[in-house]
């Protein structure tokens, strides 16, 4: 085989491999069920009607801290006289 033919063969194989890799990646994406991707997360975090959703607060630690600092929850009062192992 001439050197120029060998270069051509290598180039063709290289392109073929590249195509296979690309198709493999997109195939993986297609396996994902609707609603399982980042889109679903975003849908849970944002509301089309405006205002906060449950998830937009409860997945954001900073928001929770600020909210709980501003309005601390009532602690369940327990007797301080208990002693020993329960």
């Amino acid at each position: 085989m001439k050197f120029s033919e060998l270069k051509k063969a290598v180039a063709i194989i290289g392109i073929a491999l590249f195509v296979v890799v690309l198709s493999g990646c997109s195939g993986g994406d297609q396996d994902q069920e609707p609603g399982e991707g980042d889109q679903a997360v975003e849908e849970g975090l944002e509301s089309a009607a405006g205002g906060e959703t449950c998830a937009s607060c409860h997945t954001d630690k900073k928001k929770l801290v600020a909210d709980l600092d501003a309005d601390p929850p009532q602690e369940v009062e327990k007797s301080e006289e208990s002693e020993g192992e329960g």
């Binding site: 998830a55 997945t59 709980l68 006289e81 208990s82």
Partner: protein, 374 residues
């Protein structure tokens, strides 16, 4: 656990089967909302505690029968007709005793599916585990021993007084085996109705060492042949007699209410000890002659705050109880050789080890004559 961490939801949860139901479908409340107050209107923090909760929609078997389990009802403790106090009570003062039990003993129970599968039990402060991602198997530390701490956790992890001799080891089921609690305490047992059982040792599906450990070679071991084979003329021992280490015992629990009307308890002491006694629960399922016994915290005047003589039949039930410590090792100190047990009076529950006031209650458990030296 900080307050914000208790309610912090992982974004990954939103992609799970449960997460995709939508928060309000289980918790109610208002979404979207302009404020926390608005969002939490009508919100149910622990939806699985509701009767006919949504859990049953898909998990009908488990959710349905769980309502009747000992974990849910706590009847082993709070039912004065069938529970652990039944034999001791003064029937004429049962109302006073029920009030005391309701105030002090009834809060210790699993109220809902979420206590094991979503968060730490509410009884121990709650708080989401894994950011609300549902866990099929409860976490041994965060769930199970969050309640069963002072005995089971210490035993399983080999914890105890730092100066205790011999040094306590973790259970072989934990290190190196790394077993989960549910491998012995199966979901059938935890979820099962167990309606026939008044107390935990009556549950048919209760764990049995024999289920895993007795095979064709079991009786090749000379100790097993001598002490684990049901054969007339042989002394039958509970597995823990040879395989468990010292464990926690509690004494003298007294309950009352403080100046604010809040319930409290005080125990006289807790101490690690190991005692072999005669089997107070001998039955077809537990045919052992000798078993490990643990002192339970009840005292003659435990409920004196609520009235005199509420446990007028105190002596009708032992205070040293059949026990199944979780600190199992292959060779415990008392089983290193025949002489580690035979002639070793320190490991037997003798009359002198029992408080004078409790000797009558423990008459059937006390060992009158420990095995002599070879």
């Amino acid at each position: 656990m900080e307050a914000e961490d208790k309610v912090l939801v992982a974004k990954e949860f939103l992609n799970t089967v449960h997460g995709q139901q939508g928060c309000t479908s289980c918790h109610g409340g208002v979404e979207p909302a302009a404020s926390r107050k608005e969002a939490h209107q009508g919100m149910v923090a622990e939806p699985s505690a509701q009767k006919d909760s949504k859990c049953a929609t898909c998990h009908a078997d488990a959710a349905g029968t769980f309502e009747m389990t000992l974990h849910k009802t706590s009847r082993g403790i709070v039912d004065l007709d069938t529970g652990v106090l039944a034999a001791r009570i003064n029937p004429e003062k049962a109302d006073l005793l029920q009030k005391a039990v309701d105030n002090h003993c009834a809060s210790c129970h699993i109220d809902q599916c979420g206590d094991c599968h979503v968060s730490r039990p509410q009884w121990s402060g709650g708080g989401l585990i894994q950011g609300h991602v549902f866990q099929e198997t409860p976490n041994p530390i965060l769930n199970c021993t969050a309640c069963h701490g002072s005995r089971v956790q210490k035993e399983m992890l080999g914890q105890g007084p730092s100066d205790f001799e011999p040094k306590l080891k973790p259970s072989v089921h934990w290190v190196p085996a790394g077993m989960q609690c549910v491998e012995c305490h199966t979901k059938e047992w935890i979820h099962g109705p167990s309606t026939e059982a008044a107390v935990r040792y009556e549950v048919k599906e209760a764990p049995r060492c024999e289920d895993c450990h007795v095979d064709d070679t079991f009786y090749d071991n000379a100790y097993h042949k001598q002490h684990a084979e049901a054969d007339p003329g042989k002394t039958l021992l509970q597995c823990q007699v040879c395989h468990s280490q010292p464990y926690n015992n509690c004494y003298g629990c007294h309950v009352g209410k403080d100046d604010k009307g809040l319930a409290y308890f005080k125990t006289d002491k807790s101490e690690f000890d190991f005692k072999i006694g005669r089997n107070p629960l001998k039955s077809q399922d537990r045919p052992y002659d000798y078993v490990v016994v643990r002192h339970v915290p009840v005292a003659r005047d435990t409920f004196a705050f609520y009235g005199e003589d509420l446990l007028s039949n105190f002596d009708a039930s032992p205070t040293w109880k059949y026990a199944t410590p979780h600190n199992i090792v292959k060779v415990a100190p008392q089983a290193e050789s025949c002489g580690s047990c035979h002639g070793n009076e320190a490991i037997f529950l003798l009359e002198e080890n029992v408080a004078e006031d409790e000797r009558e209650a423990n008459r059937e458990v006390i060992v009158p004559k420990p095995p002599p030296k070879f």
